[in-house]
């Protein structure tokens, strides 16, 4: 670990630094002792933030967006579109990984340091509002998923908060990461649901190659779903979380290859599972069942004739799992950002007594969001509809911060963005702005597309 040269801070190591040094020692040991097999072993050690961030973003509202997409449009345009959104997600997250590895610091603290409190405040406002709305939808998903099995809402919410508490109870990033990654891989449950719906592989292949069919053409509903599906893949919290997790894990620029591979694997897995959700609900489209305003339990019940009770049960478990993993990651993202900005300890390696505000924010945000879903008459449906759209709309400013940081010569040194990364980053930002303006046009002029 010799890359970082701009060291101006205190060099008095804390507990979290010793944890990272221990992990670094294990990595170096593998590199020295097992040069032949070090690639696979290293990947097992270094994987985590990328897989967790992408499978965490395959959260309850995202999986419901994909389910709604399959039910409204079947197998067609949206299959390759989802692949494209995950490619966009990879481009964006790779920059966050690189910044985290090059600086060893989180996204929020770098924004505050380099852009000042005014712009940092805006970035935090976007993050906090988006995170809280999203967290609420995760608990709605958790309630709905377990509600399918008759579990009362208060038990479902309480159980999830206990799981979040259990994951952080060891005060060790590595343990938290393994627990969360194990839960996140449960997202694969949508694969058997898709298989139970007896999909036509030829139709999936045709859709991937031709980006068609797109039933009903380009309508306001199509654009809203496109925005929601983009919001299901790229959101501000992912930047804050993954950069924070890379720093917390102690990754450096010497680990960039494995960290990029981790991110790539995460994006591919998430794309496959997202497509599986579309494929699983495609029979609803084929049989003309209107599912535009379905909630999780209604999707599961509607799937019974096509996937059997097993498929419907797995779908409900999948929504619960998606909500739970995202509740863990999003509350962690909020805690990282607050800790970075307020200057208190903000590491999952820190003992409770050293980082009490960090853990209070992590658990407190989850409790507040979960508690909101238990209030009778709370506008939950509106929040679910809007959360992915709001995430997409808040993304362009977040991308501008990311691009400026990734081009910062002083911060990044030799690891700053090259031409290709800048073209991709600017292209993604322009695409998201265009999608947002397209959405606005269809809202302001409802008859624009006929």
């Amino acid at each position: 670990m010799t890359e970082h040269t701009a060291l101006t801070g205190s060099q008095n190591p804390a507990h979290e630094d010793f944890d990272r040094a221990h992990d670094r020692r294990a990595i170096d040991l593998i590199r020295r002792r097992h040069p032949r097999w070090s690639g696979a072993r290293l990947l097992l050690l270094l994987a985590g933030p990328g897989v967790i961030v992408f499978l965490g973003e395959n959260d309850a509202p995202s999986m419901l967006s994909y389910a709604a997409t399959g039910a409204q449009f079947g197998i067609g345009f949206f299959i390759p579109f989802v692949v494209a959104t995950f490619a966009i997600g990879f481009i964006v997250q790779e920059m966050a990984v690189r910044i985290g590895a090059a600086t060893g610091q989180g996204h929020a603290e770098l924004i505050f340091a380099r852009f000042g409190r005014f712009w940092g405040g805006f970035a935090m406002l976007d993050l906090v509002a988006g995170n809280f709305l999203t967290l609420v939808t995760e608990f709605i998903g958790i309630r709905a998923g377990l509600g399918f099995f008759g579990v009362p809402a208060v038990v479902a919410v309480g159980l999830s908060i206990v799981v979040i508490g259990f994951a952080i109870s060891t005060s060790r990033y590595k343990t938290w990461e393994r627990i969360t990654m194990g839960l996140a891989l449960g997202n694969a449950i949508f694969l058997p649901v898709a298989l139970l719906s007896h999909p036509d592989p030829g139709a999936i292949g045709h859709a991937l190659l031709t980006w068609s069919p797109l039933p009903h053409g380009l309508t306001p509903d199509t654009i809203t779903l496109m925005i929601a599906d983009i919001g299901a893949t790229v959101t501000p919290w992912m930047l804050f979380f993954q950069q924070g997790a890379v720093a917390d894990k102690g990754l450096t620029t010497s680990d960039l290859g494995a960290a990029r591979l981790d991110t790539l694997i995460g994006s591919i897995l998430a794309a496959i599972f997202g497509i599986a959700a579309i494929v699983a609900t495609a029979p609803l489209f084929t049989h003309g069942i209107s599912a535009a305003n379905f909630e999780a339990a209604q999707f599961a019940e509607a799937l019974v004739p096509y996937t059997g009770h097993l498929g419907a049960t797995l779908f409900a478990i999948g929504i619960f799992e998606a909500g739970l993993v995202a509740a863990i990651t999003i509350s962690t993202s909020s805690a990282y950002a607050f800790g970075e900005v307020l200057g208190h300890a903000h590491s999952l390696n820190s003992p409770f007594r050293d980082a009490l505000p960090f853990y209070v924010i992590l658990l407190g945000s989850a409790c507040a969001a979960g508690g909101l879903t238990l209030i009778p008459g709370a506008p939950l449906e509106e929040i679910v509809i809007l959360v992915n759209v709001v995430a997409t709309l808040a993304m362009p400013p977040a991308l501008l911060f990311l691009l400026v940081l990734a081009n910062d010569r002083e911060l990044m040194g030799d690891f700053r963005n090259r031409l290709l990364a800048n073209i991709a980053g600017i292209g993604v930002t322009a695409f998201l702005i265009a999608c947002g303006l397209g959405f606005a046009a269809t809202v302001i002029f409802p008859h624009l597309l006929g």
């Binding site: 801070g9 010793f18 770098l110 606005a440």
Partner: protein, 69 residues
Amino acid sequence: MNATAGSLIRADDDDPALRREAMVYAARRTATWQRRPMSPGVSILFWSLRAYVFFMLGVVALVLLRLAH
């Protein structure tokens, strides 16, 4: 692991090589960066995107209003 004043240490935390590594991590974690001057172009971009967010929030409010009716 055992507990000492304010934090937990392990048996090998006194290992000089490990301590050096931990010090590098501490230095990375606590490094402070000065505020960078923002060029007029970047400043305009930031303000434009902030205006975009406020405009889009209005659009979302319009959607909510229509849903309510």
